[in-house]
Structures are given as structure tokens and as C-alpha cells.
């Protein structure tokens, strides 16, 4: 298993740079009103990730994963070149353009969406 993880590392690194890239397409006003719904998220560190003092956040449903990742990097004062990986269900890394509402609708438990984060790839 650990061998597999190191084999995957290159690919996972690329994914990360992709995941944390923020795209502000400027036409978020066009989004459906339902996406403005507030989503409760719970951020859980894993591996060597720094702990965030505030774990529970409320975000707008139309915010993409890339926005959350950038926000967390700023909050934890990570260097711009440091990497942050976000996972859903401790299984997969959602696409950077995936919005919170979609993730909440599919993967929330007990009214909130749990996102695990780490600085090295956790679940290839």
C-alpha cells in the first residue's frame, strides 16, 4: 500500500495544484438562487495537517472547492507553494470546480459536509 502511495505521488501533486487553483469567473450572479443556500461544512485535519482553530464553517452553496482550498491556505497561513489536499468521504478528491451544494446534496451526513484536509496525498 505505501509503495502505491509513493507511485501515485506525482499524479496527486498535479491534482493538488489543480484543486487549489481559484477561478473567479465573475458570473456567479447568474447561478440559480438555490445555490445561494448556506452549507455547513466541517473541516477535519488528517496526517500532518495543521489544525484549524475554527472547524465549522458556513459557506454559500455556489462556492467551488478551489475557493475553499484557497481560503483554508490563507487561514492557516500556508506558503503559496505549500499544498493542500481536500477529500470527501475520506475517499476521493473533488474537482476544483465542484460546488459545495452538489457535494452537500450527495455526501453530507447529519446536516453537514465533512471535508478532510492534509498537506500530502492521503487517499490516492
Amino acid at each position: 500500500m505505501s509503495e502505491d502511495a509513493s507511485e501515485n505521488k506525482g499524479a496527486a501533486d498535479s491534482l493538488q495544484s489543480f484543486q487549489s487553483m481559484n477561478i473567479n469567473d465573475g458570473d456567479q450572479e447568474n447561478n440559480q438562487k438555490s445555490d445561494k443556500q448556506k452549507i455547513d461544512i466541517l473541516l477535519k485535519p488528517t496526517g500532518n495537517a495543521p489544525i484549524m482553530k475554527k472547524k465549522k464553517w458556513t459557506v454559500e452553496g455556489d462556492k467551488p472547492i478551489s475557493w475553499i482550498a484557497e481560503f483554508m491556505k490563507r487561514y492557516m497561513k500556508l506558503e503559496p507553494q505549500e499544498k493542500l489536499f481536500l477529500y470527501v468521504n475520506q475517499t476521493f478528491a473533488p474537482s476544483p470546480d465542484q460546488i459545495m451544494k452538489n457535494l452537500y446534496d450527495c455526501y453530507s451526513t447529519e446536516g453537514k459536509l465533512v471535508l478532510h484536509y492534509c498537506k500530502t496525498p492521503a487517499w490516492g
Binding site: 491534482l15 487553483m21 447561478n31 440559480q32 474537482s95 470546480d97 460546488i99
Partner: protein, 263 residues
Amino acid sequence: MANDREILREVWEGKLPISFQLDPDEVVELQQPDPFYLMVPRLSYFPLVTDKVRKHFLRYVANDKQDREMWLEYDGQPMKWHYPIGVLYDLLITSDDQLPWNITVHFDKFPENQIYKFSNKETVESYFMACLKEADVLKHRGQIASNMQKKDHNQLWLGLQNDKFDQFWAVNRKLMEVSQEQEHFKYIPFKCYLDDGYRQKLIKPVDEDGRRKTLQDLINEMFPGKNVVIKTHGMIPPLETPLQWMSEHLSYPDNFLHLCVQT
């Protein structure tokens, strides 16, 4: 599981003729380059099929732009490389009279605030595998993908990258299997594309009475009270098509149904 194997092959073999042209403003040679024509698989991703396009145009652009990331544009819009090619076509093109698909190639002014950069094919691979795992979470609680070996993952990726149907499906059929006690997936992995992105929800392939749900049921759950037309793989599937069958036969290689919504 998939008995209608010829349908899987038909879908796999879907191709689009594309004429790539370098943006005339980026040409530094006296002579304009010829367009570059390619038949590309609908199921693939642009970064996997455009190496030759890049090579063809490279010597026509300024030296200092040659190692920049190439990007593609259609009708003023930068193309999202992380959408499958067939999805981009179904979203952007309304009529097949417009073939070949005219796409403009750029090396300059990468629109970083509109599309993602990909540094190499590994970026596409890790993105693709993440989609596949998500689909398996929806279908089988993620148990099949996570129990696979690294070589199975490689085989899926190489099958897609090299356009090898048998190689890909030898592994993918495991992801499309249903258990003996339950003859369907837990949920159907799908994305419904609208003008401003895509929507996902949990939709089961059967209702409480065990009746097989159809595309019409999906539309009713996603867009209550609205009249919408769903397009995928360049066709409009009949509304009575069962969702379980669609998921097994019309999913893209990432194991998601990519449904373009026309209102």
C-alpha cells in the same frame, strides 16, 4: 451487467472531426500554417489527443511562447480540458452542419481566470481517477475502486489514453457490476450540465416499490415542473430509458453520465 456490449463499443467509437487553427495574431512566420485536422474520440480529453496539434503549430509562434501551455478556444470561449470532448461538443454545438468543428489554438494569454492549467498528463490522470472513485462511492460505496490494485487503475487509464476498448472494459466491467442481492447501483453517478456549471444529486435507480426509474424520473427530480431535453453522446435518449441501463451503457469512462440539459 452490460449485455448490450455492441452499444458500449458504439459509444466508445464515437468520434468528432476537428479542424484546429492557430490564432492568426500569434503567427510570426510569413506564411500562415495550414489547419490541422484530427478525428478525436468523444470520450477522451483534449490534453490526451492534442500533442500532434501542438507540434504542428509550434514553429509558427514566437520563440518565447513555444514552451507555454497551449489552450483551445471555440466561439470566444476557452475550452475546459477537464470536461470530456463529447460533453464540450454537446454543450457548445447545436447542429452537426457545423462539422468539422473549428477550434482556435493559442499559446499566448492563457485565460487563467477562466480555465485550469494542466502541467502534464498526470494531472489529467489524477483528475480522471478521482472522478472514477467518486462514481464508485455513489454506486458501490467506493468498495470496488478502493479494492482494485494499482495495475487495474493503470489499465483503465492506459485503455482510455490509448483508445483501447478491450483493455479499458476488462477492468471497467468490474466497476459496472451489481451485487447478487441487489440488481442495481446504490445511486446513479451523473452530472447535469447547465449554462453555469453542473448539478449533482443522489438519485436511486429504483423507487420504493422496486420499479426501475427512468430518465423522465431523473428530470422530474432534478428540474421539477420544467420541460427539459437531455442530450448525451450527441443524441437525445428516450425518456423511458431506465437509469440503471443508462448508467451501465452510456456513462463516460469516468463512470459518470454526462447529461447536457437544454431548456
